[in-house]
Symmetry: D5
Subunit: 92 residues, 10 copies
Amino acid sequence: MMFLARMDVEFPPHLTPEQIADFQAREKEYSGSLQRSGEMAGIWRIVGEYANHSLFDVESNDELHAILSGFPMYPYLKIRITPLARHPNSIR
Amino acid sequence: MMFLARMDVEFPPHLTPEQIADFQAREKEYSGSLQRSGEMAGIWRIVGEYANHSLFDVESNDELHAILSGFPMYPYLKIRITPLARHPNSIR
Amino acid sequence: MMFLARMDVEFPPHLTPEQIADFQAREKEYSGSLQRSGEMAGIWRIVGEYANHSLFDVESNDELHAILSGFPMYPYLKIRITPLARHPNSIR
Amino acid sequence: MMFLARMDVEFPPHLTPEQIADFQAREKEYSGSLQRSGEMAGIWRIVGEYANHSLFDVESNDELHAILSGFPMYPYLKIRITPLARHPNSIR
Amino acid sequence: MMFLARMDVEFPPHLTPEQIADFQAREKEYSGSLQRSGEMAGIWRIVGEYANHSLFDVESNDELHAILSGFPMYPYLKIRITPLARHPNSIR
Amino acid sequence: MMFLARMDVEFPPHLTPEQIADFQAREKEYSGSLQRSGEMAGIWRIVGEYANHSLFDVESNDELHAILSGFPMYPYLKIRITPLARHPNSIR
Amino acid sequence: MMFLARMDVEFPPHLTPEQIADFQAREKEYSGSLQRSGEMAGIWRIVGEYANHSLFDVESNDELHAILSGFPMYPYLKIRITPLARHPNSIR
Amino acid sequence: MMFLARMDVEFPPHLTPEQIADFQAREKEYSGSLQRSGEMAGIWRIVGEYANHSLFDVESNDELHAILSGFPMYPYLKIRITPLARHPNSIR
Amino acid sequence: MMFLARMDVEFPPHLTPEQIADFQAREKEYSGSLQRSGEMAGIWRIVGEYANHSLFDVESNDELHAILSGFPMYPYLKIRITPLARHPNSIR
Amino acid sequence: MMFLARMDVEFPPHLTPEQIADFQAREKEYSGSLQRSGEMAGIWRIVGEYANHSLFDVESNDELHAILSGFPMYPYLKIRITPLARHPNSIR
């Protein structure tokens, strides 16, 4: 079951560069594991923005929310979710 | 080079059901050929809306515009394009 | 799995009162069957608007889209869907 | 008399994790008591957001405002209310 | 129990001046009766717009929706409702 | 001459509870005197929000601005004004 | 007492060029008389749009609404009004 | 060549009342000189807001930007510019 | 003096393909002459939309409005103009 | 391949004038080198705003994102990108 996400990162001003680098390293690891398990079907940078579009393939809304709230940077993410269904013109 | 599209279909009221069915059949054929060639990397229905999100993998903006304006239903599509770049956390 | 819907009805001007009454009768029947099966967990009129908020309890995005596109008045509905998860403060 | 609420939580940056945990514990208790009394007819997490949709069943606007302003986290909630009426297609 | 309404009138282009005048006459009568009964506590023209702000004093959301949907011009009104509570600074 | 106002209160985070209570006490006194003089024809809390809708009955735009900028909490108010005219359906 | 207006012209598609020319001629005459009387203190075309910004100097909201609704093209104007007060930095 | 400006003042919270008063005094002087030279053709307070609408009569976009960026409070102004042309109905 | 334009084309439904082709041919000729004279400094298609961004280099707002209103398709164009000034980082 | 950018600068309040001047000097150098290489085809100040519109001529979305994220002030820029294609009326 597919969902499109748009995530915008908004770090508070008090974070140090070290804290940000640590968040980014943990984010990359978490994101990688989600991609290897297939729960995250793709992630792309939005050109010019500290934001991404990503695709999630999950069993339920609860599973999706658990995955999203598990992101290390979750407190600093503004996330908008669009539920997707199979398109009749899709060949897959 | 990836682009995310959102396409909303808005048929004018004067079209007959036969005309609409014909548009949809030609749209499906065109969409299928784009997917087989790899130019359209995915298409999903937005739940509850006569609209889709789709991913395009093309060489240039001009190629993307040529593909989009080739859709049989192009005059009735409202299209918004978001250019995407590789995400540093992507494992692909 | 719960989803909140907002549906706005926008009839085209060429429909006759008889056609509208027929749509409404079939809509009521379809809506009733969805409520009896539990797929529609509730429906309320938005005060002052030809619109409703409704709750759907379904297994997947595809099922939800199939239900929504089955509404007799679907071509005249503008639908916006919000996916819901269990709230930690819910006692149910 | 039903109302749909959307509540977005926006904590100010100076709160400590302990203060936030205390707010959340008191919020849960208050929310539970409202659900047991029937004044809150349901609450759901909006997937990916620190926000909820909830349903209130109250006698008056004044009662609703008193309930809402009694939330421990009320100063940090952005609340939008939609008044609901009985829908003619509802079977309840 | 007070509600603020904003109503915008949007007549479809096919109505004749006679039909519009008839709607307006019946609207005035209905509006007058609501004011005499106290259910409509006030109505003002928004300067420069075919729109009004009005105040309703009713017992319930259902009563308000019944009153609003009883307006002769209801099919041509776009209505937005804001529920109001007693203000602590009000001297009434 | 009537105007509808919507006022949203946005206190800066550095104010102490004592300062806020002092502002609120002075606001109540000022608001009461405006109501007794008839310049403020009504004030209502917007349900769920730290905001009000109020009606002003004044001689000119300059008088209205002087009244509004005299509110003790004026620096923390976001105010939007809608000029109102007599409605032809009003019975007053 | 000054008000800023923004007026957008939206002619319905069924008007003939002759009808439009007639509207424009009467509009020009009406606009000229308002300028000569001083009630309209200025009018400017918004570059690239069939729209204007204009300044009105009137005694009351009711007078302003009467003036605006007297425009020959009033049924085809979308008007937004901003009430203005004397600015402390104005040298007039 | 005329331009309509809307300027909203947003002082950062760290400014002292003395600093603000100093900004306002210098702003008034600068604004007065622009009015005396004719580059600023008018300025009005927007009722209820710390904002103004003003008219500028300048030779070029570059001159307008130089004038605007010369305001003492420029770093704290949010400015939106609308280019104006002569209106065919203007009698001037 | 530079201006950025965004123009969206919205043909009314009653135009025939021949009428549209005629408009487009005349538009192309007019656009070409503006580019050769230097008044239009560039024009680009917005990918996926029947719209363009274009740059104009003109002497005044009045000249720009005259140019824009001279487009054969002007009645069907929705135009938004942004005035531009020299950027301090520009090397030209 | 052309892209239109709009960039708004939003410095955080804690930066000193020296830090800002340093950012601006490095920004100017970077911007100049992009213009000399042809990757930035133009840059203009938006009148009255700390913002620019600029044109980029690049080979790919990835190259554009690399260029944009290389701006010294990138953390303080809000950037919106519009992909452009060749316009059929362009004479270039």
